[in-house]
């Protein structure tokens, strides 16, 4: 909530004027019954047509003024709430980008998306309604009551009781139905889940001939949904009739007690009409108020969730380039040293998990070397390269890039030095060109074609005849897995960094393409230090250094020839893939 006030400060004028104009409108609404009472009590009684006509024009003027002030209020409210939401979205994205993966992992992608879309929308709606109604509704409810007191105190007590009872009914029913609505939502989620099964499991369902049982499963959750909807419907249906009875009871009491007052000459018929008028206004506003309060509850919850993300602090600090300059007196810190990457007794534990994902990793890779990393699923291969990219900070030990501790390297410099082809080929909506520009925003077209050629992506792009302007759909949906991998390789090559990481990036390619790309990499002009993760022993056998990982530890380190002799796990993997160990096992 504290954040919201900061945003509203930027819309101080709007946030104050919106409710003020809304109140002005409410004032006009409140005065109308009094004027009508005057028309009846004075105009009609004294047969004063002139008086009646002037009152008529006052009524007209108030209607128009009411409309204008309402327009002004709506405009200011919309401006403040939408401006806030727009700024919130921007700040949120900026915040997300500033957080390190350690924090982002704990939040999760789907949550981040919900925060940025539906939660912020909730805040916008809530704020808008709040600015429009938080003055108006209570003002009319209590204003009517107070004006009733000015007409007749005794009759006004009917208002007091009616308002209290209406409050109880409206909020009571809301309170009772809230958990029921949650239940409906839960049932709807179940329907979604089974629908998802129907769609994504279609092959398995049919292969196992489970069509009928799937229909039964659906009908079951669907029936539960219906029952929960009917249940909440039965409870919510009490709202209108009950409030209706209360209001009419109030009308009856006004008539009955009012007739007595008229008989005594304390009141006139016009006053009774005014009172009845007020009581029906109260009902309308009370229902609005109830809705406002539910909406505000939702918005506040949304704002709190948003606030939690703003509260987070990045656990990773980068040194600025100036600091480094002062320390070394030399801006070109990342060049001309012989070791490219060095790990000294590095251990790493993900925030959420109990055990280390990497333990006591030590190795050093020289410039221009190719380092192969191999090991089973979950052995820590990707975690290891993520540390080189400083997506996470090591829990223990230290990592040196070009003999400089990784934590001392400014962000931009590190980004320039290391690039990666991630396991999942992530592309962005746009064109081939816009995707390549992510790798290097200054790249020219010629450079791009070179990179595409080295990544063996040239052919399929030429085939599609759109050149660099070939459209890329969201997540690269219009490309095959292999095509996506090749584009991400080109993107990384374009960054032209000294260190290149290939995280199982050739998996969707056939052996011939895989081999061709590796050949191209080896022939690049500026020889890179390459880290290559692979499931295929054959793909890394040629590496200068192979790291064999098992359960987060290095169990083998050396060249192919050395490891075949010394490392049992490596031998096992290699033989299973290249020698007899085929799908029929040890036959």
């Amino acid at each position: 909530m504290k954040y919201l006030l900061g945003y509203l400060k930027k819309y101080k004028k709007e946030s104050i004027l919106a409710p003020v104009f809304k109140m002005l409108e409410a004032c006009f609404d409140l005065i109308v019954p009094l004027i009508v009472a005057d028309i009846i009590n004075k105009g009609i009684k004294n047969s004063d047509t002139g008086y009646i006509i002037t009152r008529f024009f006052i009524l007209l003027a108030m209607a128009v003024l009411g409309l204008l002030s309402s327009f002004v209020a709506q405009y200011f409210a919309a401006k403040a709430s939408i401006g806030t939401a727009t700024k919130l979205r921007h700040d949120m994205l900026e915040k997300i980008q500033s957080l390190s993966l350690t924090e982002l992992d704990t939040i999760g992608n789907s949550t981040l998306i919900t925060r940025m879309t539906s939660d912020i929308n909730q805040v916008q709606n809530g704020l808008n309604m709040f600015l429009r109604l938080f003055m108006r509704s209570p003002f009319i409810v209590f204003g009517s009551m107070i004006l009733a007191f000015t007409i007749n105190a005794e009759l006004a007590f009917i208002f007091v009781f009616a308002i209290i009872i209406l409050f109880i009914i409206v909020f009571g029913i809301m309170k009772i139905t809230a958990p029921m609505y949650k239940n409906v939502q839960q049932n709807l989620d179940n329907v979604t889940e089974v629908t998802d099964e129907d769609l994504n499991g279609v092959r398995v369902i049919r292969a196992f001939s489970r069509e009928k049982s799937q229909i039964q499963k659906f009908n079951f959750v669907n029936k539960n949904l219906l029952n929960s909807q009917l249940k909440v419907g039965r409870a919510a249906a009490f709202m209108n009739p009950l409030t209706y009875v209360v209001i009419n009871t109030a009308v009856i009491l006004i008539l009955w007690m009012g007739s007595d007052k008229i008989n005594f000459g304390v009141l006139m018929p016009g006053n009774i009409i005014a009172l009845i008028n007020y009581i029906s206004q109260i009902l309308v506003e009370l229902v609005k108020l109830a809705n406002l309060i539910t909406q505000l509850g939702r918005s506040a919850a949304g704002m709190n969730r948003i606030g939690q993300i703003f509260d987070m602090q990045s656990s990773m600090e980068y040194k600025s380039a100036d600091e480094i300059l002062n320390n070394n007196g030399n801006g070109n810190v990342l060049n001309n040293l012989n070791t490219a990457v060095e790990f000294n007794d590095v251990s790493f534990k993900y925030k959420k998990s109990g055990a280390n994902s990497l333990s006591n990793i030590s190795f050093s890779a020289l410039k221009g070397q190719t380092v192969g990393i191999i090991g089973g699923t979950g052995s820590g291969k990707t975690t290891l390269v993520n540390l080189i990219l400083r997506l996470y900070d090591a829990t223990d030990g230290n990592i040196l890039i070009n003999r400089i501790p990784i934590k001392e390297i400014p962000k931009k410099d590190l980004q320039k030095t290391v690039s990666v082809v991630p396991q999942k080929p992530q592309l962005f909506k746009g064109t081939v060109k816009s995707n390549l520009l992510i790798g290097n925003k200054n790249a020219g077209e010629e450079q791009m074609w070179q990179a595409l050629k080295a990544a063996e992506a040239e052919d399929f792009i030429i085939e599609k005849q759109m050149g660099l302007n070939l459209n890329i759909e969201q997540n690269g949906a219009n490309l095959s897995g292999g095509q996506k991998q090749r584009l991400t390789i080109a993107r990384a090559l374009l960054a032209d960094s000294e260190i290149l990481i290939l995280d199982d990036s050739l998996s969707a390619l056939d052996f011939a393409t895989d081999a061709a790309i590796r050949k191209n990499l080896a022939n690049l002009q500026n020889k890179k230090t390459v880290f290559m993760i692979s499931q295929r022993a054959g793909s890394i056998a040629y590496a200068d250094l192979i790291l064999v990982l098992d359960d987060g530890k290095i169990v083998g380190k050396g060249t192919h020839g050395e490891l075949i002799k010394q490392c049992e796990i490596y031998r096992e993997i290699y033989e299973s893939q290249l020698k007899g160990g085929s799908i029929n096992g040890k036959e």
Partner: protein
């Protein structure tokens, strides 16, 4: 030049095609409404009850001001109140209020029942339809979109329907009755009100039109922005690594500001509807006060009569506003339900023609599979598999290899009859698979796919997915054979552990082990393994090989694999490229032939020399 011309031509063609589509849409509107009426039909009785209750309700709402007014007429002034009449009017008001409250309650129940039941029926129909649609439908339609139709569109439809039932009848009845009563009470005032009516009508219509336009553009931009957010969040690591955060933030700002502007318009215009109705309400109110008061001075209307008019004035404009709301909501509902009807109107998979002579049964087949002159393409104009012929003898092991996109998975689609061949035929034990029931055919296959789909349920339910009523021992035996037993045991509830969301709590490898166990329990005469071990690390894979070996003994097996080492031992290797089988034979034969397979096979050793 030439190319340009032909491009234009196709563009033109597309234009006329889309034009035809829209004109078709209009004629479809009537069809849609008929379909909606068909959905309502079973609840016809309740609809009549609801209308009846709406009439009672409206009558009550209109009668109360009349009796209030009459009561006021008997309170003329000091010492001039007829308590007896006032009391009798009050009694009538009380009675009407109670009746109306009851009517309101039952009407709400009726409407709930009608709408929610209709939605239940509709969802049921769609769910049944899913099981009858050809697999191609699911392959060509993103599941997110279909789910959104099943959930959101039907929900919007139900909201629209409910609003229609609750407000449309009441609104129309109210307007007509009010005008009627007003004419009955005083024709001049009634005429004045009637003349003001069109203003209200046009004003709300104007605003609704504007609002809808802006809401549409807001929704479109919001959709774009959400897509962008999705992408930026999913790709955050890439953006971080390449330092492209600023660039993406700038791009986001462009669309974000656009959304801000569009939202401002949409929200502002939509918020005008209420004040405008209020203005017209107030105008009518003022006019009635003026004319009524003048008439009252002349004595042709009582003060009570005036109060009736005034309270009607308050009620009169509301239904107009509601009806225009209902109309937009209803249009919205129709668009949404139309999207659901599109699914229901899709063509089912072709009816089965069963040749009874085959006496096909998973227990008595040997597993000889033949492709005879098979042609196939996912779309008719793009043939993928051309004139494919091969024969797998009973118990043979057939490996399918080739570069990505060469049609390996297509072969499986055809074997399981997820897709039907365009021409030629596939036979199992000499029986044309198009002439036996899909169920019988599929019961002959055990299938493990690369895509490890699990259903929401316990581990046990998942393993016994193909064999209802499997004994616990059988299930555990299958799990042990698939090397899944040890990790299942370590789960909090063992075999009773419930997995949801396609087993997101399990690793990809564990999910695949469960899929293997699922196939092992079924133990059919034929097997399909499509990259069955792609998510399992090499060491575990080696352990499973034994189990696979036992499983495959005596069973015709089709194996799709990337790793050439896993296919070396097959009896027949089919080498596919661009949809056709270009080589077929044993490993040794193919290596000796020194063709495409040999090239593929050797390429994996090539780089060792670099």
């Amino acid at each position: 030049m030439e190319k340009n011309k032909s491009n234009k031509k196709t563009a033109k063609k597309n234009n006329t095609a889309s034009y035809k589509k829209t004109s078709k849409k209009y004629s479809k509107k009537a069809e849609n409404i008929k379909s909606i009426l068909d959905l309502i039909k079973p609840y016809g009785f309740l609809v009549w009850v609801s209308i009846f209750l709406a009439v009672i309700n409206t009558a009550a709402a209109l009668l109360i001001p009349i009796f209030t007014g009459k009561a006021i007429d008997y309170m003329i002034g000091k010492g001039n109140v007829d308590f007896y009449v006032v009391l009798s009017k009050i009694a009538i008001i009380a009675a009407i209020a109670v009746i109306s409250a009851a009517a309101q309650y039952f009407m709400a129940l009726c409407n709930n029942k009608i709408t929610f039941c209709i939605c239940r029926d509709l969802r049921e129909k769609v769910s049944e339809k899913f099981q009858n649609l050809p697999v191609s439908y699911f392959d060509s339609h993103p599941s997110g979109d279909i789910i959104s139709r099943m959930i959101n569109d039907i929900d919007t439809f139900s909201d629209g329907l409910l609003m229609g039932f609750t407000q449309l009848f009441t609104g129309i009845i109210t307007i007509i009755s009010i005008i009627g009563i007003m004419f009955y009470l005083n024709a001049v005032i009634a005429l004045a009100v009637l003349l003001l009516t069109p203003i209200s009508f046009f004003a709300t219509k104007f605003i609704a039109g504007k609002t809808q336009k802006y809401f549409m553009s807001q929704a479109m931009i919001r959709g774009d922005e959400t897509a962008l957010i999705n992408e930026l969040v999913a790709g955050k690591t890439v953006l971080k690594v390449f330092g492209a955060e600023d660039k993406s933030l700038k791009e986001f700002d462009k669309i974000n500001d656009k959304l801000g502007k569009a939202s401002l318009k949409a929200v502002f215009y939509s918020s005008l509807a209420n004040p405008t109705t209020r203005l017209i309400n107030n105008l009518v109110y003022a006019v009635i006060a003026l004319i009524g008061a003048v008439f009252a001075v002349a004595g042709s209307i009582t003060v009570g009569g005036l109060s009736i008019f005034l309270s009607y004035a308050g009620q009169y404009a509301k239904p107009f506003n509601e009806i225009s709301g209902v109309v937009t909501e209803f249009q919205n509902a129709i668009t949404c339900v139309q999207r659901v009807f599109y699914i229901l109107n899709e063509k089912d998979q072709p009816k089965e023609e069963i040749n009874k002579e085959y006496n096909f049964n998973s227990k008595n087949i040997s597993g000889e599979v033949a492709f005879n002159n098979v042609n196939f393409g996912y779309s008719k104009d793009k043939p993928l598999i051309k004139d494919l012929n091969f024969k797998a003898l009973a118990g043979q092991r057939i490996a399918v290899v080739g570069p990505t996109g060469c049609g390996k998975t297509t072969l499986i689609n055809l074997l399981m009859r997820f897709y039907d061949v365009n021409s030629g035929n596939i036979t199992v034990d000499g029986a044309d698979i198009n002439k036996i029931s899909r169920k019988d055919l599929r019961s002959c296959y055990g299938m493990v796919l690369q895509d490890t789909w699990l259903c929401n349920g316990t581990i046990k339910e998942n393993i016994s997915y193909g064999v209802l009523n499997a004994a616990d021992e059988e299930i555990i035996a299958a799990a042990k054979a698939a090397h899944a037993h040890s990790f299942i045991k370590r789960l909090p509830n063992g075999y009773e552990t419930v997995i949801t969301g396609n087993g997101e709590s399990l690793s990809a490898g564990q999910r695949q082990l469960l899929c293997i166990a699922r196939a092992m329990l079924k133990l059919p005469p034929m097997l399909i393994l499509d990259e069955a071990t792609s998510n399992i690390d090499t060491r575990t894979e080696m352990k499973i090989q034994d189990a696979f070996a036992t499983m495959m003994k005596g069973r015709t097996s089709f194996i799709v694999a990337h790793r050439l080492s896993t296919v070396k031992e097959a009896d027949v290797i089919l080498v596919m490229k661009n949809g056709s089988v270009i080589e077929q034979g044993t490993h040794t034969e193919l290596i000796n032939k020194n063709g495409f397979y040999a090239k593929l096979y050797n390429s994996q050793f090539e780089n060792q020399k670099i």
